[in-house]
Amino acid sequence: MSSPAKAKPATAPVVFTANRLLDGRVVWLVAAGQWVERVADATVFPPEEAAAGLALAQEDERAQRVVGVYGAEVALEAGRPVPVKFRERLRAQGPSVPAEPPTYRLAS
């Protein structure tokens, strides 16, 4: 993105995400130096703390742990963050198609 959080002040709660340097996997910020693979476990920053959250995330980018930090707006469902934008939900969930070797049937 080219994050909304970077570009303009957040108006909704945000989580911070990036790709892990070693394998490129999508990760979500919990605390300084701590990233997890499940968005549900990410720390949610209220709009007024988004700038501080971004600074925390960028420290890990400078430390070369993660790549491409940005903020993603979330809604809280059962107390857990769920990204608002479709693209971010897809990043959180993985591809919507099987990411495994094809097993197919023949056409009828």
Partner: protein
């Protein structure tokens, strides 16, 4: 490797003796080892934190390594879409050992792996080099993999073999020092057949190899075609460039583009914009540049051409007759085999042989994906039945180019066991689709599940045959990697206020009658796009005259009836 160097024939265990592919020489192999050492060191420095992402990104891109939505993606070059069995088996090994057991064949006849770990890349590079492969110039603003006809050397109507010139262009363009940082990426396609199967007119440069009345080789040269945000059909620059002058002319085209192409605005940086804006002045500049180039330095020596041509000499075909009894009996006695043969088996220039197109579009599958086991099955079949050769087509299928007709039942059986015998080549479920938002960081909507839904909707083969030839191309963003502009039915996924929306174009074509599709109207939401395609095809079936393909009917009746059917109830 970085200049045009006459190849030295060396024994190479990476190449089965009979397979007709490019040959690395000692210089190529030495360079590749140097590049592996260099990029491995850059990766190590990146992992140690000594290189920032800004510093590392251009280095990894020049080596084919992207960072996509969920992981790194590694795009491996398959020069002009030609593989031998050893190479395909090695790709299967890489898929299994360092990825998730599958790979994705692309519209540039390459393969990409979606789940690469940065730390594994040096090992993968070494495994590729063991079979004379690499991932260099599969990204970046350089000359990318030249694509060609998947039936090259087998097509009965071919005027001249485009592989020879694709190989010459590969050697000329690889690490060309002047063209490593072009204004934007640059794609060349070359065909030697009267039927364009390479989408020549939507490439930065399109080449047609021809013969004159005396049998001499020359090239028709087109430039300025492209898809993406601003689709443009190519302009013919020259009807005839003699073989000896091919590299000089290409050099002139690239020099003019390199000098005058827009470097300030990425959306206006491709050569198509320059050619469109300059009109005839572009051709004049190219001719002036061509005239002032030292022709001797660029002259394509007939001995060099002959030496490369020897690598693509016909394999040791047996003297056979067409329609052998075993093939005829299978066609008559096995309806399933006959249905497959009708779509997948193609006439060959050598009597008694055929080319087999292998569908990587099983019903409900992901277009272009193949598992490691499937790659190994194809490699095995190629060794047994096709002189160890495999081709990748730009429509994301594979080809066994030289199969004895008497072996076709056995090949079909082998493909069937590997789930690779879907008889849908050229039909509505033979869909081109880019990775879309399921994998690609640039995408604005998903492509793959749309292709899967359409494929499922039209799963019934009788229905597909009734509809006949119809190419559906799907892109997940305006960059058009799924070639939607030139699909008979083109589908473009965009983001519309946070939701996926799919615009449909009709009447595109990527072949001799190249055309850009026309937008039919407002977009459709994700869950309505398959219904829209069905409405379009029902309209075609209702309107078509005898013998008309979808695109013929569209050209006769225009957008109106389709628009009316799609939006009447809105």
């Amino acid at each position: 490797m970085n200049a045009f160097v006459a190849p030295i024939a060396l024994p190479n265990p990476a190449h089965p003796a009979q397979a007709r592919t490019y040959r690395y020489d000692a210089v190529d192999r030495e360079f590749l080892q140097e590049r592996i050492a260099e990029f491995s060191d850059q990766i190590a420095r990146r992992l140690r934190g000594e290189l920032t992402e800004d510093e590392f990104k251009p280095l990894r891109l020049m080596n084919g390594l992207y960072l996509q939505l969920h992981a790194y993606m590694y795009r491996i070059a398959i020069p002009y879409g030609i593989l031998n069995a050893t190479q395909l088996r090695q790709l299967a090994m890489i898929a299994r050992r360092w990825d998730r057991g599958y790979g994705h064949f692309t519209t540039r006849q390459n393969i990409q792996f979606n789940w690469t770990r940065l730390e594994d890349v040096p090992d993968i590079m070494r495994a590729l080099a063991d079979v004379d492969m690499h991932a260099i110039q599969t990204s970046g603003n350089c000359i990318r993999n030249t694509t060609t006809d998947e039936y090259a050397g087998a097509d009965p109507e071919e005027a001249a073999d485009p592989r020879i010139y694709a190989e010459i262009i590969r050697q000329w363009s690889t690490l060309h020092p002047e063209f490593t940082w072009l204004p934007r990426k640059f794609k060349i396609a070359i065909t030697g057949a009267p039927q364009d199967r390479v989408a020549m007119q939507v490439h930065d440069v399109g080449l047609v190899v021809k013969r004159d009345a005396a049998g001499a080789i020359g090239f028709e040269i087109w430039a300025g075609g492209g898809l993406g945000r601003t689709p443009v059909l190519a302009t013919k620059l020259r009807d005839w460039v003699p073989e000896a002058e091919l590299l000089a002319y290409l050099e002139a085209v690239l020099r003019v583009y390199n000098a005058l192409g827009n470097r300030d605005n990425i959306y206006k940086a491709r050569i198509k914009i320059l050619v469109r804006d300059m009109g005839d002045a572009f051709r004049e500049r190219v001719e002036r540049e061509f005239a002032r180039l030292p022709q001797r330095a660029y002259r394509l020596d007939p001995e060099v051409v002959a030496e490369i041509a020897a690598h693509f000499a016909p394999p040791p075909f047996a003297r056979l007759a067409d329609n052998p009894p075993a093939y005829a009996a299978a066609l008559a006695g096995n309806a399933e085999f006959a249905a497959w043969a009708k779509q997948s088996v193609r006439a060959h220039r050598q009597p008694g042989y055929a080319s087999v197109t292998i569908s990587l579009k099983p019903i409900g599958g992901i277009p272009g994906d193949a598992s490691a086991e499937q790659m190994e099955a194809v490699a095995r079949l190629a060794e047994r039945h096709s002189f160890g050769e495999i081709r990748v087509s730009h429509v994301q299928n594979l080809v066994l180019p030289h199969v004895r007709q008497e072996d076709l039942p056995a090949v079909w059986q082998g493909l069937r066991e590997a789930g690779l015998a879907t008889p849908n080549i050229g039909l509505v479920s033979d869909i081109i689709a880019c990775p879309g938002m399921d994998y690609c960081a640039l995408a604005t909507a998903r492509s793959i599940p749309v292709a899967q839904m359409i494929s499922e909707r039209f799963a019934d083969l009788d229905r597909q045959h009734d509809i006949g030839e119809c190419f559906i191309n799907i892109s997940g963003c305006i960059n058009a990697c799924g070639h939607h502009h030139v699909g008979h039915i083109g589908i473009l996924g965009v983001d519309k206020r946070g939701a996926e929306s799919y615009q449909i174009t009709l009447g595109g074509s990527a072949t001799n009658d190249a055309a850009l599709g026309e937008l039919v109207g407002p977009g459709f939401p994700y869950d309505k796009v398959t219904d829209a395609v069905e409405t379009i095809l029902r309209t075609y079936l209702a309107e078509r005259a005898a013998g008309e393909r979808f695109v013929d009917t569209y050209r006769r009746i225009g957008l109106g009836p389709f628009k009316e059917a799609l939006y009447a109830s809105a």
